[in-house]
């Protein structure tokens, strides 16, 4: 997920209040919609992205750090993710750690692009392979933890009996 948990809840509440409730007819239906807003406000106070989503991402970073450290002759000057020295359980701290790790991986890719020519080919190939494995793993995890897309419904404003997956 890319937007923050709090911002998505704020957007959901605003959309209900500004776009949906004014067009709803009937006290009961509007009451239900306000009930949704109330419960969303509760979620905002008590919930956040799940550690179950973030933990595998931090594990993948750790494994990449180990894989890079195991490459003979891997240059000390190269930026790289380092093995975690702490294991936060708070989602915000975990997300910061994931982002810091991804920043280091991004810097490593850029560094290999500008310095790779001066390194032994086997070193750059091994580093590239480790990075690609990491990227594949992270993307697969993000996709596996995503809901079925509903862009047909979003565009058409109605739910078809059978729609194509994007």
């Amino acid at each position: 997920m890319n937007n923050s948990f709090d911002r998505i809840l704020t957007g959901l509440i605003a959309t209900l209040r500004q776009e949906i409730i004014p067009k709803l007819e009937g006290e009961f239906v509007r009451g239900q919609a306000y009930g949704v807003i109330y419960m969303l406000e509760f979620l905002r106070l008590r919930a956040s992205w799940s550690p179950a989503f973030l933990t595998p991402q931090l594990e993948a970073l750790d494994e990449l750090a180990s894989a890079l450290a195991a490459i003979p002759g891997f240059p000390a000057a190269a930026p790289r993710p380092l093995p975690a020295t702490s294991s936060p359980t708070e989602p915000d701290a975990m997300e910061m750690l994931r982002n810091a790790g991804d920043d280091q991986v991004s810097q490593l890719i850029d560094w290999l692009g500008s310095h790779g020519g001066s390194l032994d080919r086997s070193v750059t190939d091994s580093a590239d392979q480790a990075v690609r494995t990491y990227i594949r793993r992270q993307l697969r995890h993000e996709i596996q933890t995503s809901a079925r897309p509903m862009f047909a419904e979003i565009s058409l404003g109605k739910e078809e009996e059978k729609t194509e997956r994007q």
């Binding site: 997920m1 890319n2 937007n3 923050s4 911002r7 998505i8 704020t10 957007g11 959901l12 509440i13 605003a14 959309t15 209040r17 500004q18 776009e19 406000e41 905002r44 106070l45 994931r98 982002n99 991804d102 920043d103 991986v105 991004s106 890719i109 850029d110 290999l112 692009g113 990075v131 690609r132 990491y134 990227i135 594949r136 992270q138 993307l139 697969r140 993000e142 996709i143 995503s146 809901a147 897309p149 509903m150 862009f151 047909a152 979003i154 565009s155 058409l156 078809e160 059978k162 729609t163 194509e164 997956r165 994007q166």
Partner: protein, 351 residues
């Protein structure tokens, strides 16, 4: 808990239809030197970025048109801040060139007039088939004819002699040598501007793209978002290509590659769900004389995925940073990972 939308704030003119109608009438009266009688403002629910508003003016209208379209680039839009100049100059360059596009009449980047940069064009009739429709879609025969029209319109666009148009004055000089690098640099800047977190895959792709920059066969007007969903049609006739906000000068392969993105094939083997790749290339070559280069197409297909991922990041960013509550934005953001996965697979296939 107080919600953000409860804060009072000044609204731009276009957010209130009465205010907009009055401001538009004042502007048109001044431009045309007569009272034009603006009426019938209605907002179209299309696009994620520019606001599209239809309206009517009294006869004799502008350019013989009394039914017009106002396009506004809002300050909180997807790619803001906007200028209307590239779109206006591009549409003017297309007049009489055999490209189905609305005629543009007036423009301004002065936000004090209507609250945002804008241009005014004719209203063109037609319906926009969308790439996410239910299974089945249009009849095969109609689809085939529309696929040919879709390719012909692209060929006509890339044949336009733009050198003497206002478009030649927008931005820096584009050559066959620098067209690819300029686009890559622009979208790398956009990535840095809109990302809310680092995406290693985009660094990996940018490295590959920098190492494989092609030379363009010519410098053409590039639509920038040429695909199913961005044109109007009546039957098998395309009446207007729409959404010119990413228009620029560049390599014509760029539009072809964008139209071939898997996102617009709806699970079929048809480019933009309309035409097979080989048939499209052949028809395009017949219309333009350009031999479609497979290596250049590979570059621009990877580049198109890069651009699409960054566009989704813009949606995430605009939702996260503004009081702009359109829930289509975070929904688009959920598609970053699938786009990056396609990019990774495409690069793997090239290895």
């Amino acid at each position: 808990m107080a919600s953000q939308m409860e804060r009072p704030k000044a609204s731009p003119a276009y957010q209130d239809s009465g205010t907009l109608e009055r401001a538009l009438a004042v502007y048109l009266d001044q431009q045309l030197g007569r009272a034009v009688g603006v009426s019938g403002l209605r907002r179209f629910a299309v696009g994620f970025s520019w606001i599209t508003i239809g309206f009517t003016i009294s006869a004799p209208g502008i350019g013989g048109c009394t039914e017009l379209i106002l396009r506004l680039g809002p300050a909180d839009g997807l790619f803001a801040p906007y200028s209307a100049a590239p779109q206006f100059f591009a549409l003017r360059a297309l007049e009489g060139a055999g490209v189905p596009a609305p005629r543009a009449f007036l423009w301004s980047d002065d936000s004090t007039i209507l609250g945002a940069p804008f241009f005014i064009s004719e209203l063109v009739q037609g319906e926009a088939p969308i790439p996410w429709g239910p299974a089945g879609g249009m009849p095969e025969e109609l689809r085939d004819r529309l696929g040919v029209a879709f390719t012909d319109a692209l060929g006509a666009l890339h044949n336009v002699e733009w050198q003497s148009s206002g478009l030649a004055t927008v931005g820096e000089e584009i050559t066959v040598e620098n067209a690819a690098s300029r686009q890559l640099e622009e979208w790398e800047r956009n990535y840095l501007r809109w990302r809310l977190r680092p995406h290693p895959m985009l660094h990996y792709a940018a490295r590959w793209l920098r190492a494989n920059l092609p030379t363009a066969p010519r410098v053409s007007i590039v639509h920038g978002d040429y695909r199913l969903g961005n044109f109007l049609a009546i039957g098998d006739r395309i009446t207007a290509i729409l959404d010119w906000e990413l228009v620029h000068l560049g390599d014509p392969h760029e539009d072809l590659a964008w139209a071939c993105l898997p996102q617009y094939r709806a699970g079929t083997k048809l480019m933009s769900r309309l035409i097979e790749r080989d048939a499209m290339y052949q028809r395009y070559h017949d219309k333009t004389g350009i031999e479609v280069d497979p290596e250049t197409m590979r570059f621009y297909e990877i580049f198109s995925l890069y651009k699409l991922a960054v566009t989704h990041m813009a949606a995430v960013s605009v939702f996260e940073r503004n009081d702009f509550h359109d829930l289509r934005m975070p929904a688009m953001g959920t598609q970053i990972a699938p786009v990056l996965r396609q990019m990774e697979k495409a690069l793997e296939a090239l290895a």
